[in-house]
Symmetry: C2
Subunit: 471 residues, 2 copies
């Protein structure tokens, strides 16, 4: 049975059931997404202040069979927050529920509402001398509810895990409007199914997260940063294993950069200082977050020496100051900007089993060569097996000339990822963009189970209709 | 609609559809449980060798509406593996699927079948110079499938998390007999709902886990062990925060022992050496697992000194040898034996928010004093907020005299745990023993969602009938 639109009559009736000022026509910002790929259908936005108001809104939508689109910071890259076609859903923005409800430094726990901006949560944790480790490019805009609903990744996953691992408890409104009061602050709780883990990463299709009890960590006493040139991706992996044998969890980040990354920076952003006299074929950016009394320079030097002795490392730069560490990170962080300047034919957010990465990188180049003449900039979170594998035209050509091969390129890369046991969405989720990929590559038993769960918890299909699971 | 029994006719028909020797009448060992609380109803046991055979068995049960009881090592403490009343389910033992299918040291991944014994998985990891951190008393008998299905805890949760956190991917047979080939070895995979997390901890009520891709960790380069006497549980918590500020994740274990624990050892097991000249009111057993180049004695001494200066620690013993470290652990590990010798009226496996522990311990004593005259031995995994809170008769009296207050004692403790935001099953699960507790204390919205999920994935109700969710 099709959904009904959130039309004026519905909005006005709902308006009367809520305190004043909770509904208005959606401004353009709710209808745009960061890459300009889609335009949302115009309609109404609800801006509740309490979980009870969220409950009333969800219940009204369920009763009237009106779709509901949970909205956080609007920074998602797969269209999970944009409905480009009707019937128009009601947009539910959590932006007015942005409180840090409580912080428990001795427990390493912070309770935040879904509308809290990530940077504000990080700052509140730091004020209590604690670390909230989730960190990514959009942290000044992205909100906790969206980050958790998409199981966001970022730069600290190697050490601290994905967003799902940062959550002890949830408060959420289920599709029938009932409130799940699950804000437990417990490290161990084996009383039934993991509803928490199920809502995390469900992209708003199984309910609306309204608050979360988040895990904090101690702030590392000292950090150390190095760029180490390695022979190959395989050598980079062996170096990672060596680093973890020496330092365990204190390896906070381990990012891969290839020669193409340095070349693109030189081509598009010549103001970025090239750190090596001779650009290496591959290098890794290593960041350590150390315990008290440990010397970052000594730890990095020990890793460098052991890497040299094992024949894995052939050059290296250890940051001598915070400024130099930031310079190293700038190289990593401005590669996406260089990529945009050059213009990718297709970008891929993929993950693979760690030991399959070298073969994937090599075979990918060979397969793509059969499709056409391309440049590949392959970089990313090596420690998580998560590569940004982006395909560009040869020098002097423009991506616009390659629109007709874009689908072939994506299919070539995603097919290989799938053959090698990888994932075609490592950290961005499915949203609306990757629904066909999910249907193509997902295990059929898993997909059937997902559909059963969706139908059981949201029989009217009101929650984020069209995202993840096709209605 | 009630289930049908796994009677002789069903077993013979299923037998003919499987290779020879896969079905037999269940020997007594499948019908007993560790605490002798229940006796399983007699019937048939299936012993498949492959996931395809498991699939055929599940499909046959689903078609015939016959209950299925997944069986691992049989060590569960809440009756999840025992059906005391009919209609008799088919017992499905995974013991013949016990292979370590593969090990990937560079990925820190090991793939084990559900029937693999935990100690064998630990040994296989160590042989590759890696650590599989899940560790608990029954590790010589418990099997991976059962450990994961119950989201087992143990002594390393503080550092490495519960069983759920040890799993990257699963192979499982869903209640309709389809096989989910989800043995991914990925650290990041955002392609749909977390079916993995849902099956983990579902106690066999949503499917049968047949294999898992497990996370390994580097083996710490050195370990250090100390017993530190503290003023109070609150001081113990502050010391834990201090330890984590100094050493981060390298704090592997942080166990609380009270004076009653030492007194019980003296009373029941006088051969256990008492480490302190004067028994402290409270002490913590701290274990560190350190990075290369770190000195355990120096790290423990720094913690001890900082704890003294902060007024948290008033005495301490740093293990000078592996033998002495084992002596310290013996104190912690033999407390349950002393408890059994003395005889508890009621035992509780509870967890609380860390900062609520001191108040819980104090208020619990006060409330119990209103019920009767008891001794309480409270000890456990302080770092996880997980206490074993066990209630005993006064000296000279026997637990048998207190059978009529047992339910009152449990209710008193569990009510308080619930009021304070805790869990009445921290690590053992629900099984059949704690179904009434789940129904009493669970959030109604969560319980309703669990029932919906169960009905959606297992509409015939064949999977471990009577466990977790009442049919």
């Amino acid at each position: 049975m099709p959904l009904n639109p959130a039309d004026d009559a519905f909005a006005e009736a709902l308006s009367r059931a809520l305190p004043e000022g909770r509904l208005r026509r959606a401004e353009p910002r709710y209808l745009e997404e960061p890459r300009g790929r889609w335009q949302g259908i115009s309609g109404w936005v609800a801006l509740p202040r309490t979980v009870e108001e969220v409950s009333a809104i969800v219940r009204a939508c369920n009763d009237a069979r009106v779709g509901l689109l949970p909205y956080g910071g609007g920074t998602g890259l797969v269209g999970g927050q944009i409905a480009p076609e009707g019937p128009a859903p009601l947009i539910l923005s959590l932006e007015r529920m942005s409180a840090i409800r409580a912080i428990y430094p001795e427990e390493n726990v912070l309770v935040a509402e879904a509308g809290a901006v990530l940077a504000d949560v990080q700052a509140a944790a730091l004020e209590a001398n604690r670390l909230f480790p989730l960190s990514l490019a959009s942290e000044g805009t992205a909100r906790i509810g969206g980050l958790l609903s998409t199981n966001a990744g970022g730069v600290n996953v190697l050490r601290y895990g994905n967003a799902r691992e940062q959550v002890l408890g949830l408060e959420a409104v289920l599709p029938d409007g009932t409130v799940w009061h699950g804000l437990k602050r417990l490290r161990k709780d084996n009383t039934g199914y993991d509803l928490r883990g199920l809502l995390l990463g469900a992209e708003g299709t199984l309910g609306v997260i309204t608050a979360a009890a988040l895990k904090l960590s101690p702030v590392p006493a000292a950090t150390g940063t190095a760029l180490l040139a390695v022979q190959s991706p395989a050598a980079a992996l062996s170096l990672l294993a060596l680093a973890r044998e020496q330092l365990g969890e204190m390896v906070s980040a381990f990012e891969l950069i290839g020669r193409m990354g340095f070349d693109f920076l030189a081509e598009a952003l010549p103001e970025v200082r090239q750190p090596f006299a001779e650009t290496p074929a591959w290098c890794v950016l290593v960041e350590l977050g150390l315990a008290q009394g440990m010397d970052p320079e000594a730890a990095l030097a020990a890793l460098f020496t052991a890497g040299m002795e094992a024949g894995l490392v052939n050059d290296g730069l250890l940051a001598q100051s915070e400024a130099q560490a930031q310079q190293f990170w700038e190289i990593r962080e401005r590669i996406p900007e260089a990529n945009r300047a050059i213009g990718a034919i297709a970008s891929h957010d993929v993950s693979l089993p760690l030991s399959a990465l070298p073969e994937f990188i090599e075979t990918g180049l060979a397969r793509l060569a059969q499709v056409g003449d391309f440049r590949v900039n392959c970089f990313g979170h090596l420690g998580d097996g998560n590569l940004h594998y982006n395909v560009f035209p040869p020098k002097g050509r423009k991506k616009q000339e390659y629109l007709d091969v874009r689908a072939d390129v994506q299919r070539c890369v995603h097919d290989l990822v799938n053959e090698m046991g990888g994932s075609v969405s490592a950290e961005h989720g499915i949203g609306r963009l990757k629904v066909p990929d999910l249907e193509r590559y997902s295990d059929p038993a898993k997909l059937a189970a997902m559909r059963s769960i969706k139908a059981a918890l949201d029989p009217a299909g009101i929650m984020n209709p069209g995202a993840v699971i096709r209605g």
